[in-house]
């Protein structure tokens, strides 16, 4: 396995967060009853014509500039012709040879060193409708609400060499798109999807191997799993003496395997030509500079600020600034407490864990930043223990109540009462004679065990310092 090098290129499709669709004024809102966000234009009815949404150009240029691309002063839109039921006009309006943005890069940090991932191009295009397959139905159903929602397609150079690098790249793209306000990147709503192009070659080999494509992966997890599985499959195939077929494969995340898609006899001949219904998009260098000047602070810069100003370790700073919402939340919490380290720890440890468990993203944190500030303050004031704080955060996620109320209602305050704690200590010592003996015999580990048991007994509410002292004293007396 380690004789081989994996070569990965990604094509990321991101829905732009404009109010209206790219070529008509229907809403881009997610959800809604099927076929209620449509009009004759996005439905491709006969005689209808597209008119470009100016925000699409602005947002695409912003994204391009934030990824260090050159913005074309002259670009045009082309028709990509193919038949599929989710494509009403039987062509997608996209950009072929003169994309709006080209020749950019994003830097990632897979380890100690920075690695530059090239961005070949970013172009604008329209999204297609959605096919709904019913288990029982003999047919497929089409909902065109999504048809005409503006997309940018970000094409990377085949510069990634591992699933981890791909993950970092996608996270970086997400962060940049969020920070520039260009896309909400809600992967579970499909507003960010990735196609993975992957090939393998023997280390040292100059030519690329044959690559396969997996389309429309809509979570970081599936991207990582798909990459690892496909690399393994290809290597196995080669080792077995087989050949890799250039094909599109469908990744089934539930099953964890990919399937070759039913082969389409003709390789796609999209017959691109400039769309005669649309006119060229031209930007002057002044306009491009203006857009550049209005770019907000980007994730990288914010990360560096966190390291410098807040003294956070680079990795932690990177994790927090990966999501604009999380970084905003973090900074908001700092309005309520000065304990930066504690906030950072709670966010990276507990907050992210709760989000993951609930399959949520940072924008979905169900309580105001102030609450987390209060939790930190309570720990600092000795009102609750660190352990309890973690529990409180978890309960805040569930109930959305404020921490003071939670602590009160559930009686989670730190127990400082020495006599009560002494009772607990005595109880633990009595019920764990073996551990006591071990400790007496020099096994320091047993002390930790006994502390743990005592903490458990008090359901985490014991004041750790007092507990420790009492246990030590009591044990010494034995």
């Amino acid at each position: 396995m380690s004789d081989y090098e994996i070569v990965i290129g990604l094509e990321i499709h991101a829905e732009l967060s404009t109010e209206s669709k790219i070529f008509c004024s229907c809403t881009t809102q997610f959800g809604g009853e099927v076929n209620t966000h449509c009009c004759p234009v996005c439905l491709g009815m006969p005689g209808t014509l597209p008119v470009l949404n100016e925000k699409v150009v602005l947002y695409a240029a912003k994204a391009g500039l934030a990824m260090n691309c050159n913005i074309a002063e002259y670009s045009k839109q082309d028709r990509k012709n193919y038949f599929y039921p989710d494509l009403p006009k039987a062509y997608q309006i996209s950009q072929f040879d003169l994309p709006l943005c080209s020749g950019g890069y994003i830097d990632i940090k897979p380890g100690e060193d920075t690695k530059r991932i090239g961005i070949t191009r970013i172009h604008i295009e329209e999204d297609a409708g959605k096919l709904l397959h019913d288990e029982w139905e003999s047919g497929s159903l089409i909902d065109y609400n999504r048809c005409g929602v503006p997309l940018i397609e970000i094409v990377s150079e085949p510069d990634m060499r591992s699933a981890e690098e791909a993950r970092l790249f996608v996270e970086s793209v997400k962060a940049i798109l969020e920070y520039t306000g260009v896309s909400d990147c809600k992967m579970q709503e499909g507003s960010l999807r990735a196609d993975v192009n992957l090939s393998v070659r023997k280390k040292g080999q100059k030519e690329f191997g044959t690559r396969t494509e997996m389309k429309n992966l809509n979570s970081i997890r599936s991207i990582v799993r798909a990459i690892n599985a496909e690399a393994e499959r290809q290597i196995e195939e080669i080792e077995d003496g087989g050949k890799i077929v250039q094909e599109t494969r469908r990744w089934d995340d539930d099953k964890g395997i990919s399937y070759a898609m039913r082969s389409k006899e003709e390789a796609h001949d999209y017959r691109y030509f400039p769309d005669p219904d649309l006119v060229p998009v031209m930007l002057t260098s002044e306009e491009i500079q203006n857009i550049k000047d209005t770019l907000p602070e980007l994730p990288d810069k914010r990360k560096r600020m966190y390291v410098k100003e807040f003294g956070l370790p680079e990795q932690d700073a990177g994790l927090i600034t990966a999501s604009k919402h999380l970084a905003d939340f973090f900074e908001e919490v700092l309005k309520y407490t000065k304990n930066i380290k504690a906030v950072s720890n709670f966010i990276l440890g507990d907050l992210l864990k709760c989000l993951k468990e609930g399959d949520l993203e940072a924008r979905d944190i169900p309580f105001p930043a102030q609450y987390l500030g209060e939790v930190v303050s309570m720990v600092d004031d000795g009102k609750i223990s660190n352990t309890i704080a973690k529990k409180v955060i978890s309960i805040m996620f569930e109930t959305k109540k404020d921490p003071l109320t939670i602590v009160k209602e559930q009686g989670l305050e730190v127990v400082n009462d020495e006599s009560a704690l002494l009772e607990t200590v005595k109880k633990i010592i009595t019920s764990n004679p073996q551990s006591v003996a071990d400790f007496k015999n020099g096994k320091d580990k047993a002390f930790g065990f006994l502390v743990g048991q005592a903490m458990k007994e008090t359901r985490g509410k014991a004041n750790p310092q007092i507990l420790n002292r009492l246990l030590k004293e009591t044990l010494e007396k034995l």
């Binding site: 229907c26 100016e54 139905e137 998009v281």
Partner: protein, 95 residues
């Protein structure tokens, strides 16, 4: 330039048209004479000539990002050959 039966079949597939054997032969003949006529264009020297995709000297025609009400679903589905549950229906798509 010869327009072969293979070419006609390929183009028909791309165009999603079913042609009978007879039609294929007829099209091959039609297209060939037209294609030869079209080869005439090569008599003109077009080196350094920019292609004109648009006769209108217009650029940057764009609209404001404003939402207007969509059409009622009824009128969207008015001409649907087959519909179910508010959607357009087609044969099962196997990927």
């Amino acid at each position: 330039m010869k327009v072969t039966v293979e070419t006609i079949k390929h183009v028909a597939k791309l165009s999603r048209l079913d042609l009978s054997e007879e039609e294929i032969l007829k099209f091959a003949k039609d297209m060939e004479s037209i294609v030869e006529y079209v080869d005439k264009l090569n008599e003109l020297d077009t080196t350094d000539v920019e292609p004109t995709a648009h006769v209108v000297p217009v650029k940057n025609v764009q609209r404001k990002d404003e939402v207007n009400p969509s059409f009622e679903r009824g009128s969207i589905l008015l001409n649907a050959p087959m519909e179910k549950d508010g959607c357009f229906k087609v044969p099962r798509i196997v990927e």
